[in-house]
């Protein structure tokens, strides 16, 4: 019976792939030909995908950590990241930062902004955990999930309101809900050109900085969770809350800590994405959240390394689809691959094979 079901599932997946392929312009010989004839374009798109993937991965970490410890899909996380971006824009506005401000001033201000919005998002996340999730911790699984969706709406409206404070924060522009222009502060030196390599590939210091910061954040988190006492307590709490409690771990505090770290990461992601894309809008949390959530599921939800892997995979997949297929179909491919992977490995790429109901 179970076998029969899984065969049906595989057939379904094959059907989706066969259906999508031709419509979306999936023509393998042609694509291979294009890659061979201009490998530079291919490498360029890999780089774009890598940086975007790293940004997705940072947000995905917040999802996966919270899921790992209390099995809650925190739908408000994407919107928290949006608020982080708004907070950093406000800090930049307060310091009067504008496009192409001199680095000597920009770097300290960026550090201040990074700290301010990490602390802001972390604090907000702890408050939300305390008032929206903790009272529901022993309730049926659906209750905190819906609570999270509610928080997501509150955050979105906070962003909308924030954007309308143009009387106090002039950088918000003239229109409350329009996308906001984010100052372009990171230096933009073409690395290959500076090294004297003749190529059409463009990889600027801006991309490199974003990539490095993202990787550093991810490595720090990994080290923290794997090699510190608090990290150990987090893992213990994730494994069994009861046992952890008996062992003298303050479970409430550890969960709050998880939300704190997740919030800080969301804040850092907000400022990084702002500096990288130079536009922020109050609805950006939803899409980014969806992608990051997908990345977390793809890698195996609850698994930190998996979230990073999933993020990078999604970034690469979308940039390559934009180049060789059609941007019209990029989302279909991203979620199609998700379907395929979940069909064959329900726990995600690096996850365990545990049956879950959400």
């Amino acid at each position: 019976m179970k076998n029969w079901k899984s065969i049906l599932l595989y057939l379904g997946v094959v059907y989706i792939v066969l259906l999508l392929g031709p419509i979306a312009g999936f023509d393998l010989p042609k694509i291979v030909g294009e890659i061979v004839s201009s490998p530079e374009v291919f490498i360029q798109q890999l780089l774009v995908g890598l940086v975007n993937g790293a940004l997705i991965a940072i947000i995905a970490l917040g999802y996966t950590m919270v899921y790992g410890i209390i099995e809650l899909i925190n739908f408000a996380h994407g919107d928290l990241y949006m608020l982080g971006a708004f907070a950093s824009l406000t800090v930049f506005g307060a310091f009067g930062m504008q496009d192409g401000a001199p680095l000597g001033i920009a770097i300290p201000v960026m550090l201040v902004a990074l700290i301010v919005c990490s602390v802001f998002c972390a604090g907000l996340n702890i408050v939300v955990e305390k008032y929206a999730y903790r009272p529901l911790r022993n309730a049926p699984r659906l209750a905190p999930l819906i609570s999270a969706i509610g928080v997501s709406f509150i955050f979105q409206n906070m962003g909308l309101f924030w954007g309308g404070l143009k009387a106090f924060i002039p950088v918000m522009g003239s229109n409350s809900a329009a996308p906001k222009s984010f100052p372009d502060l990171l230096p933009r030196v073409d690395i290959f050109k500076a090294l004297g390599i003749q190529t059409s590939i463009v990889f600027t210091t801006k991309d490199l900085i974003v990539l490095v910061v993202a990787v550093v954040l991810m490595v720090l988190l990994h080290v923290f969770v794997q090699y510190t006492r608090l990290g150990k307590a987090m893992r213990a709490t994730a494994q069994s809350r009861d046992a952890a409690k008996i062992m003298g771990i303050n479970v409430d505090q550890i969960i709050a800590l998880t939300f704190l770290i997740g919030g800080a990461l969301a804040g850092s992601a907000g400022i990084l994405v702002g500096l990288y894309n130079n536009t922020i809008v109050f609805t950006m949390g939803f899409t980014a959240g969806l992608r990051a959530f997908t990345a977390a599921v793809l890698g195996g939800i609850g698994n930190i390394v998996g979230a990073m892997l999933g993020g990078v995979l999604i970034g690469l997949l979308s940039s390559l689809s934009d180049q060789y297929l059609s941007s019209r179909w990029t989302n279909a491919w991203v979620f199609g691959v998700l379907v395929v992977i979940l069909a064959f490995r329900p726990g995600g790429l690096l996850g365990e094979n545990v049956q879950e109901k959400v």
Partner: protein, 464 residues
């Protein structure tokens, strides 16, 4: 690596503050827990809800309530379409996106309508008829722009309110597509200041069964005071040619308006000998378009044409275009009237400099005669610059008031006919008429460019 086991609903009450629960019955526990926290949360939610309610419903501009019962809520479930209440009171409704990034534009449209009403003291037929005005919001915060469910519920609300005789809207053609059929069956006329999708009125310019699918009652109820996109797309092609463009890459936002206008631009460009390098639909919710822009850059275009609006992420597209190294000197960017608003400049910042936009009419500052006078009045009244469509909203309101003046009673069908019969209307846009489709006879368009952080009028464009 965080791992988890499948323990979820275990009681674990040792540290719960609201004690007194039996640890052997987890189910009751959770519900009790919910109940304990529920009251506080409910109060909190109610607070939030009331906040939202107060900010989303701007106070109706005309405070006069219809005869008697000032307490009756308009939200009461509509039972019958009839019962117009006071026969001497009619209502005009505007359906515009008052939430999301179109708000700035929509607010100036509402201002234009209020201005038109204020000039007549909200009265018609020598004071016999009282005209009320209500603002419906067709957008939701969740969508960030117009929302299909919201449009449908608004249309039903208008139909159910017996005093509604005319609707001014929408801003988005996709929204109009949904509301026209509903209003059509109730004989409510819609006058649009901004919907430019050709298929709404013109046969053969849109999908196969358009426009008849929108008019199930068999009569027309939709008119627009703004020229349709079949003209604008063509004019854009001509303009691009005269700017010296030879190779163009076309993008659209996969929405009715944006795709429609790109669909007209593409053949025009080809006909004029401009090489079309490619055509692509974008995901308007994507966080960036660097990969796509790298792909386009490799093809060396002179211009990117984008069929879309500010809400469909035009600002990000422009930023990423410059981010991957397509300079304003080498690659131009052109879009339709959907991007000709201050919000786009706010979004794209310095990268907005030098981008082009066509507009289905003249910008407010360029209007002459009655239009120039209107422009001064508007600025004096609201102490702000009107956005592109404010004059059209004003004109639409004037058309509605004119029709009410002719009919002088609360009669939807008669007012619908009066609006459609508008001929040689002498308004702020000049003297014009509606044709049998409900389209304006005006065809003057304009080309605009961003200079010094402001939209600047370049030249008037005519269809060749």
């Amino acid at each position: 690596m965080l791992k988890r086991k499948q323990q979820t609903n275990q009681p674990m009450n040792f540290s719960q503050k609201s004690g007194g629960k039996s640890p052997t019955r987890p189910k009751t526990n959770s519900t009790q827990n919910l109940g304990a926290a529920g009251l506080r949360k409910l109060l909190f939610a109610a607070g939030i809800a009331s906040l939202c309610a107060s900010c989303q419903n701007p106070p109706a501009p005309t405070a006069t309530t219809p005869g008697g019962s000032p307490g009756t809520s308009p939200a009461a479930t509509p039972v019958a379409v009839s019962s117009p209440g006071d026969p001497n009171t009619v209502k005009i409704v505007s359906m515009l996106p008052m939430t999301g990034s179109a708000l700035g534009q929509a607010q100036t449209l509402v201002n234009g309508i209020q201005q038109a009403l204020a000039e007549t003291n909200s009265k018609a037929c020598d004071g016999k008829i009282q005209i009320q005005y209500e603002v419906y919001d067709d957008a939701t915060a969740a969508a960030g722009k117009w929302d299909p469910a919201q449009v449908t519920s608004n249309s039903n609300k208008a139909v159910a309110d017996g005093s509604v005789v005319a609707v001014i809207g929408h801003y988005n053609s996709g929204a109009a597509k949904l509301s026209i059929p509903v209003l059509n069956q109730a004989n409510i006329v819609m006058i649009s200041p901004a919907n430019t999708y050709p298929g709404l009125t013109k046969p053969g310019k849109g999908e196969a069964k358009e426009p008849n699918v929108y008019y199930p009652a068999g009569t027309r109820n939709f008119t627009r005071v703004v020229p349709a996109d079949d003209l604008q797309g063509a004019v854009a092609g001509n303009w691009a040619k005269s700017l010296g463009v030879q190779k163009v890459y076309i993008l659209d936002d996969q929405e009715l308006y944006g795709k429609g206008i790109a669909d007209v631009f593409e053949p025009t460009a080809k006909k004029l000998g401009i090489q079309v390098l490619g055509r692509e639909g974008i995901d308007i919710k994507a966080s960036d378009y660097k990969a796509l822009m790298n792909k386009i850059k490799a093809l060396n275009p002179d211009m990117i044409y984008f069929g879309g609006t500010t809400q469909s992420n035009a600002g990000q597209i422009i930023k990423d275009m410059r981010n991957v190294g397509m300079t304003p000197e080498a690659v131009k960017f052109m879009g339709p009237d959907g991007i000709k608003e201050q919000a786009l400049i706010d979004a794209a910042g310095k990268d907005a400099e030098g981008i082009y936009a066509t507009f289905g009419g003249l910008p407010p500052q360029e209007l002459t005669g009655a239009g120039a006078k209107w422009y001064t009045n508007y600025k004096a009244k609201y102490n702000a610059e009107p956005e592109a469509y404010a004059a059209y909203a004003y004109e639409a309101a004037k058309v509605a008031i004119g029709a009410i003046n002719k009919v002088c009673k609360n009669d939807r069908a008669a007012i619908r006919e009066a609006v459609l019969a508008t001929k040689d209307f002498n308004g702020v846009l000049g003297t014009w008429s509606f044709d049998t489709n409900g389209d304006t006879s005006l065809t003057t368009m304009s080309g605009n460019v961003v200079k010094g952080g402001k939209w600047e009028f370049v030249n008037a464009l005519k269809l060749e």
